[in-house]
């Protein structure tokens, strides 16, 4: 316990007495954390936009005019059983007619023609949403079996297939690009932190050797650097967190307009705060401890 308190004391002493080095280390860590958080923002916005685009896509299945309620229920049940299907909305004949009238409320010709008919000419509709745009093809194929040939009058997929394929391709490309960018940032962050810590340890190599020569154990020499790593990681997290928060406050009103979501980024960070802080702190801390351990190993061999 005595050793631990001494190690703690030396860590704080080192930070204060090597203040410029401590300052530089924290600055580098803050910059890296800001870069990582920028990426988190880019990912969040991209995911949101992509999911919004995906939500706009659906496939409507128009049932024949004279089919029974049980047949429609059966198709709904059959489609809902697919894991790719996230939502099905059933609109009965009346709802379809009401929606049709609402859509064409400014077109008297259509409304008059509709009134001429004695009964509702429109069939019920099933609106299907899948997890990914590419899943629609599977659903449509599933619905194109002979048993449903007379029940299903038409599907909108054929009209929108090309658009869906294009959106599917674009969103997949965006997701891939963000993933590559994340990996690139992670590699750059790793090397920047690795070299910062290596330089910091290199400047103290003489001290490390001297400590060993007067009888310090490896733990006694390493200890303060581990504590310093924890302190540096903590301080840089707080500073980066404050900057990110301020930037979010600035960005959110603008993004809210574009994304149709008020306070989107602030909410995103609030909802994922533990995950983001936990991962970032853990990664920075692990990286600094492992790097300092590796960099120091050579100088401890005295």
């Amino acid at each position: 316990m005595l050793s631990f308190f001494r190690v703690l004391h030396f860590a704080f002493q080192d930070i204060v007495r090597n203040i410029s080095l401590s300052f530089m280390t924290v600055i580098i860590l803050v910059l890296m954390l800001l870069s990582i958080n920028t990426l988190v923002v880019v990912r969040a916005v991209t995911e949101h936009v992509v999911s919004q685009v995906k939500e706009q896509i659906d496939v409507s299945v128009y049932f024949a005019h004279d089919i029974k309620q049980e047949q429609m229920e059966e198709i709904k049940k059959y489609i809902s059983a697919f894991p790719e299907v996230v939502k099905t909305t059933f609109l009965d004949k009346e709802a379809v007619l009401a929606e049709f009238k609402e859509t064409h409320k400014d077109n008297n010709n259509i409304l008059n023609s509709l009134n001429e008919l004695e009964e509702n000419p429109l069939g019920a509709t099933l609106i299907i949403q899948t997890r990914e745009p590419r899943d629609y093809e599977k659903i449509i194929t599933a619905l194109s079996i002979p048993e449903y040939k007379d029940i299903i009058e038409s599907k909108t997929f054929a009209d929108t297939q090309k658009a869906i394929e294009r959106i599917s391709l674009i969103t997949a490309q965006i997701e891939k690009a963000v993933l590559i960018l994340s990996a690139l940032f992670a590699i750059i962050s790793f090397f920047v932190i690795f070299n910062t810590i290596r330089v910091a340890i290199y400047t103290q190599r003489m001290e490390i050797g001297i400590k060993k020569l007067v009888g310090a154990t490896d733990w006694f020499v390493r200890g303060p650097y581990i504590i310093e790593s924890i302190i540096f990681s903590g301080i840089s997290m707080v500073i980066a967190g404050a900057i990110v928060y301020a930037v979010l406050q600035f960005l959110d009103p603008y993004l809210g307009i574009i994304l149709y979501s008020e306070g989107f980024l602030t909410k995103y960070f609030q909802n994922n705060i533990l995950l983001i802080v936990g991962i970032e702190f853990g990664v920075v801390l692990l990286l600094t401890i492992i790097t300092s351990g590796l960099a120091m190993r050579k100088y401890l061999r005295i």
């Binding site: 003489m206 001290e207 001297i210 060993k212 020569l213 007067v214 009888g215 310090a216 154990t217």
Partner: protein, 226 residues
């Protein structure tokens, strides 16, 4: 106290540090180890503090065979031997008091005892008025005294001094040797590695002369003969 039996240290095929040397140093002796550069003086010091391991032979300190000492036991050995170096090896970011205290702190000495012992040791080396100074604020002689204080603070039985006067002027060198003599008078075994002819001749102590990694002269009251 110190026994070397057929010790050899070979760095590479062509680079030999020590070549089959045997010697014994009694408790309380003052021994000068002399020789030209590259004759194995520093290798000997490195073997004594386990900075290097011998290639062959047996090295005992106080009955403890350190020729095959485990990595874990090295700090324990170093806490029992005082070492001073030509370049002082002080911690630049620590004050005089902190430098001296450090040798006790690594050994887990209680704070109360450190507070009690360190000022006394600083007093012995004449640095009581410099206890809050940093190494860069001290002269070469003062730095070496701090190093001596640090090496003495845990009351070692052996003090190894590797060219302690190498960077000092004649007056400071003389003062350092006087301190070493005083320490020796209290019973500490001193191994002084030097190539300062005047110091060796004035001391009139045991002199071991190394040449090409071998002991060529070992005289009880020797002089510098190179």
């Amino acid at each position: 106290m110190i026994t070397l039996s057929q010790i050899s240290k070979q760095y590479t095929k062509k680079s030999v540090g020590l070549d089959n040397i045997s010697l014994h140093v009694d408790s309380g002796e003052f021994v000068c180890i002399v020789g030209q550069s590259g004759t194995g003086k520093t290798t000997l010091v490195k073997l004594l503090i386990a900075e290097e391991r011998p290639t062959k032979g047996k090295l005992e300190i106080g009955g403890w065979d350190i020729s095959r000492i485990s990595y874990r036991d090295v700090p324990l050995l170093r806490r029992q031997i005082g070492v001073i170096f030509q370049d002082y090896k002080l911690l630049e970011k620590k004050t005089v008091t902190e430098n001296v205290s450090f040798a006790l702190q690594v050994a887990g000495t209680p704070h109360k005892r450190i507070k009690n012992v360190v000022p006394r040791v600083l007093d012995i080396v004449g640095l009581s008025d410099k206890k809050y100074a940093y190494p860069y604020q001290l002269s070469g002689g003062q730095k070496q005294r701090v190093a001596i204080a640090r090496s003495l603070v845990h009351r070692p039985k052996i003090l190894v001094a590797d060219e302690p006067t190498g960077n000092l002027d004649a007056i400071n060198a003389h003062e350092i040797i006087e301190i070493l003599k005083k320490i020796n008078d209290f019973g500490t075994t001193i191994l002084l590695v030097t190539h300062d002819k005047d110091i060796v001749n004035r001391l009139r102590k045991r002199v071991i002369t190394l040449h090409n990694g071998q002991i060529v002269v070992d005289k009880k009251q020797g002089t510098y003969q190179l």
